[in-house]
Symmetry: C2
Subunit: 109 residues, 2 copies
DNA sequence: TTTATTTATTGCAATATTACGATGATTAAA
DNA sequence: TTTAATCATCGTAATATTGCAATAAATAAA
């Protein structure tokens, strides 16, 4: 049905999935990488840097903003985006807690 | 159009997104957590453990298998699943390389 | 062989995602 | 005030994802 049954999972599992999902598209990965690279915040440069239409970039930026991973500041006719350091750290803690496991070396079954 | 323009991104960015995407659903998070918890591999228990229909679980298992993160071994009428340790480690390396950044403390713009 | 058990596959309905053109809103510049 | 520039939003088309009932496939048990 295209709709995720979030009710049957723990908050923790839903939180992990929510953060992972936002990285599940290369455009959002590229946006974040560019924001990390260009210390001073960027905005419409992302449209040129990445090869997608302006409304598409804007849509991806909104998803990142909704999770709090980036912030946008209006600067005249432009909008400057940057990583939110606290949120980035908090997100890392959630994902690392899930990812940082050692798979047992024993053979399967 | 619902279709991702993978061509315009680097292999690295696509790889990061591909791995992150598979964790972007709580059912797959739950499956992996259960496989980590129950050392000895499980199969249809996942259907009971998680509250989704058998075909749905089977579909999620297939996605994990396609990325190589889990393996399935036929045992009579059952199929035993387990984490692939090498693939798990390789996946971690890819995601950590992306996630493990320090956001600059400087203010936005 | 027949029946049960277990998992994969197929087909489908409902919803979500991706992408973009058109347009609106806001502000700077002329 | 008018025009240009920049970004967000709306509307829409195409595709993807999620979930399940029905069914097939494979093997164990009777």
């Amino acid at each position: 049905m295209g709709i995720t049954k979030s009710e049957i999972f723990t908050d923790r599992q839903n939180r992990i999935a929510m953060f992972a999902k936002v990285f599940g598209h290369p455009a959002r990965v590229a946006i974040l990488e560019h924001l990390f690279k260009i210390q001073t915040c960027v905005c419409g440069d992302l449209v040129e840097e990445i090869g997608l239409a302006q409304p598409t970039i804007s849509q991806h930026l909104r998803e990142l903003k909704q999770l709090g991973l980036i912030r946008g500041t209006i600067e005249g006719t432009r909008v400057c985006y940057c990583i939110d350091p606290e949120k980035w750290t908090a997100m890392k803690a959630v994902l690392y807690d899930f990812l940082d496991r050692e798979a047992p070396g024993t053979e399967c079954c």
